[in-house]
């Protein structure tokens, strides 16, 4: 089994990879199962899907991870609402890392683009890495 990516492995400034995933019917259906159908097809749903796709992108690229990581902060710029059926390319890089109060913090830059390279989101995930 592949060893998990540890905090010591992160190199600030280094690209971690990319992944392309579709915003398909199953994602929309899963979102509606949690947040209801009242916002189906609206930007509220699209923005939520953008967050979900950012997470799927990050988790698809930065893997395997040690269990128990948690979010500390998130900066997220929604630049366009993704369209159902659109393929979203997510690129992940390590921005920085820091040990603070015996906690291992890492900042990841996560950017998503859609059809024709249009920018969908830019995010910075600040995570407390478990190991």
């Amino acid at each position: 089994m592949t060893q998990p990516i540890l905090w010591n492995d992160f190199r600030p400034g280094a690209s971690l990879g990319e992944i392309t995933q579709p915003f398909d019917d199953s994602l929309a259906s899963a979102w509606r199962g949690i947040f209801g159908t009242g916002d189906a097809g609206t930007p509220a749903e699209g923005a939520g899907i953008a967050i979900a796709m950012m997470m799927r992108g990050y988790l698809g690229v930065v893997t395997p991870r040690p269990p128990g990581n948690v979010h500390a902060r998130q900066r997220f710029m929604l630049e366009a609402v993704p369209r159902q059926g659109e393929a979203i390319r997510t690129v992940v890089a390590c921005l920085s890392k820091e040990m603070k109060r015996e906690r291992r913090y890492v900042d990841l830059d996560v950017r998503g683009t859609g059809e024709g390279g249009r920018s969908i989101y830019k995010g910075i995930l600040t995570l407390v890495w478990a190991a």
Partner: protein
Amino acid sequence: MTNELQAVSLTADADVIRAYGELTDDFNPIHIDPEFAAKTPMGGCIAHGTMSICLLWQSMFRSFGDGAAQRVELDVRFVKPVRVGETIHAGGELESADSQTYRVWVRGDDGVDRLVGTARLSPEGTTA
């Protein structure tokens, strides 16, 4: 601009947390494995942090309308975990009409913040 965002609520029970894990492909055991989670600094299972952000989007877009803001810059901190079974509420208030900035939050039934931050809007075609 509206002064107050329309509040939106969600109960983060185990089924919802499991469903959100499937939506995001995030099966971190801190969300779904009580035995594992009990041994972490969180002391038990917690909901995914980004679930609260999705709820915040609902609050914002319901308040602004579909075309009101094409670009939103969100900066939030997760100040307290959302425990399994808690009902959370997302909302916010206008902080600055000039910069189109809202102070946003997600709170529990106890009125204590789980997530706090700002949301800055800009219409389509402008720079945020």
